[in-house]
């Protein structure tokens, strides 16, 4: 894939002649990461044009001298769910955290190689790192709603930074909650503290918060490991619905979860990519012996 000219991208700050997107502008003027509310058709069209394609090129990541991700090249297809599996310490979370540039926030951590989002190098020095995290949302193992904020304020926290109007906050907050499958459960308690929800609801609240800023990619690092089976199935169903509008990368220790939700499964070991393929093939007839050994539980 050719790299796009970074100066054309909305997530560039310095050379971008436009100021921060005006929330009242229509979808045509609005940059991809802050698309307008109420335009699902337009959004569907964008999806069909393959927005949200992530490409890793020779990615290496380190914690000090610990080489955690080793020369990893991988594509994440638009509007698909990709599961990353592998034993603890294999580098799967680190790899995912490189996609939204969270890895570098850790002291002594650094990375090399390229991460491209629709051809745009996310590590380009001119990139606005906040915009990267808006375009590449993340949901963590433990639900982490902002503890002092209400349900509604949690969902719209990211949007507020973009200077959205009150009515737009309401529209998009609701849309995000609907998208996260939470609206019916919380519509009468939007002012209640986010942390008053159940664990599964809190996790969907965090998904809504990520969706509210209309990301291209949603990273999920063990999103269900703190949830009970019913809440887990709820999230898995949601993943199936969301993949129409966002590229999903999910790190999971639960291989059955990977088998249930993912179109593509990636197996990593000791920081290296061992195998990537359609999920049904990886779980019925993997190419690599190490994948076979891992998925059948012969080591782990």
């Amino acid at each position: 894939m050719d790299s796009r000219d970074p100066t054309e991208s909305p997530i560039m700050t310095e050379q971008n002649p436009e100021p921060q997107a005006d929330p009242r502008t229509g979808p045509d003027q609005s940059p991809p990461m802050v698309s307008a509310v109420g335009e699902p058709a337009a959004k569907q069209q964008r999806r069909s044009r393959e927005i949200g394609h992530v490409e890793l090129q020779s990615l290496n990541a380190y914690y000090g001298s610990n080489h955690a991700v080793r020369d990893l090249s991988l594509d994440f297809d638009s509007a698909k769910v990709t599961a990353i599996i592998g034993p603890s310490g294999c580098g799967k979370s680190t790899m995912v955290r490189c996609i939204n540039r969270m890895h570098e926030e850790i002291a002594g951590a650094r990375s090399e190689g390229k991460v491209l989002l629709d051809g745009l190098d996310l590590y380009d020095p001119q990139i606005d790192i906040v915009a990267v995290r808006r375009a590449v949302g993340m949901v963590f193992q433990k639900p982490n709603p902002f503890p002092t904020m209400s349900v509604f304020d949690n969902v719209t926290a990211g949007l507020r930074l973009t200077g959205a109007s009150r009515s737009e906050l309401e529209d998009r907050g609701r849309e995000a909650l609907v998208g996260a499958g939470l609206w019916e459960e919380v519509k009468d308690r939007l002012k209640a503290p986010g942390v008053s929800l159940s664990g599964g609801q809190q996790q969907r609240l965090c998904i809504a918060r990520a969706l509210a800023v209309d990301p291209e990619v949603l990273l999920m690092d063990e999103p269900c490991s703190a949830l009970d089976p019913v809440a887990t199935l709820r999230i898995e169903e949601l993943i199936g619905e969301l993949k129409e509008r966002v590229t999903i990368v999910i790190v999971t220790h639960n291989m059955q979860q990977a088998a249930r939700v993912a179109d593509t499964t990636v197996f990593m070991l000791s920081g290296e990519l061992v195998e990537v393929g359609p999920t049904d093939r990886v779980f019925t007839n993997p190419d690599d012996d190490r994948t076979e050994q891992y998925v059948t539980g012969k080591f782990g």
């Binding site: 034993p87 291989m255 059955q256 088998a259 000791s270 779980f283 019925t284 007839n285 993997p286 994948t291 076979e292 050994q293 998925v295 059948t296 539980g297 012969k298 080591f299 782990g300």
Partner: protein
């Protein structure tokens, strides 16, 4: 990092494979007695084979249930999943083979105490049976050794059985006009047909061997498209 895990599960899977494939030894025992009963028109031995089929059915039910439990509790994938799927097929084949022996044994009393047997036809049926015994043993060995070549060779062995079956048919056509002899010959044709089906089941087991090893299921020979 490579810690050995799930050893109990692996042992259970190995035990079930041995037990399921052991069903083929039961079938061979049943087939041998069936042939003896055919050769000597031994009604009592035939009755024993019929009664003993409960052991084969019991093996089928027991291993089948344990495999379902493994599926439910262990979420097997990859080679383990293919092995379990194949074993479920093999069990069904074992059960069918046992039933075919029963079918033959049920015919033996019908031919009477002193049947007007044709020696040539009896010999052909016994040859078919012995050849089928070899096929069953070979299918078991191919499965145990995951040997696709040996499994494919079952097709060649099965052709021998098919040819003997055709010869049998030819002899029956020329059995003459005596109604008793014709009735006997028709009954024996059904017995030959049952043995031929047992051999086909052995070939089916060979196809499962190929599936376990390669992950692809393909009939070695497609009866409905013989030239395809």
């Amino acid at each position: 990092m490579a810690v050995e895990t799930r050893s109990q599960y692996q042992e259970e899977l190995e035990r079930l494979e041995a037990s399921g494939l052991g069903g083929l030894d039961l079938v061979n025992g049943s087939l041998d007695r069936t042939l003896e009963a055919v050769e000597h028109q031994d009604v009592e031995l035939a009755a024993l084979v019929i009664a003993d089929d409960d052991r084969i059915d019991g093996r089928y039910l027991e291993v089948h249930q344990s495999l379902i439990t493994l599926l439910a509790t262990q979420s097997p994938v990859a080679t383990d999943l293919r092995l379990i799927s194949a074993l479920l097929h093999v069990l069904k084949n074992v059960e069918r083979m046992g039933d075919q022996c029963v079918n033959i044994c049920k015919m033996i009393p019908l031919t009477g105490n002193e049947p007007p047997a044709d020696e040539g036809m009896v010999k052909l049926i016994l040859d078919m049976g012995r050849q089928t015994h070899t096929l069953i043993s070979q299918s078991k060995r191919a499965f145990e050794d995951r040997n696709v070549e040996l499994a494919r060779d079952l097709v060649r062995q099965d052709d021998v059985v098919d040819n003997l079956n055709r010869e049998c048919f030819g002899l029956a056509l020329e059995i003459g006009d005596d109604p008793d002899r014709r009735e006997w010959a028709m009954t024996m044709l059904l017995a030959a047909r049952a043995i031929e089906r047992i051999a086909d089941n052995a070939v089916d087991i060979g196809e499962q061997v190929a599936f376990v090893v390669t992950g692809l299921f393909k009939e070695f020979e497609d009866a409905s498209h013989p030239n395809g």
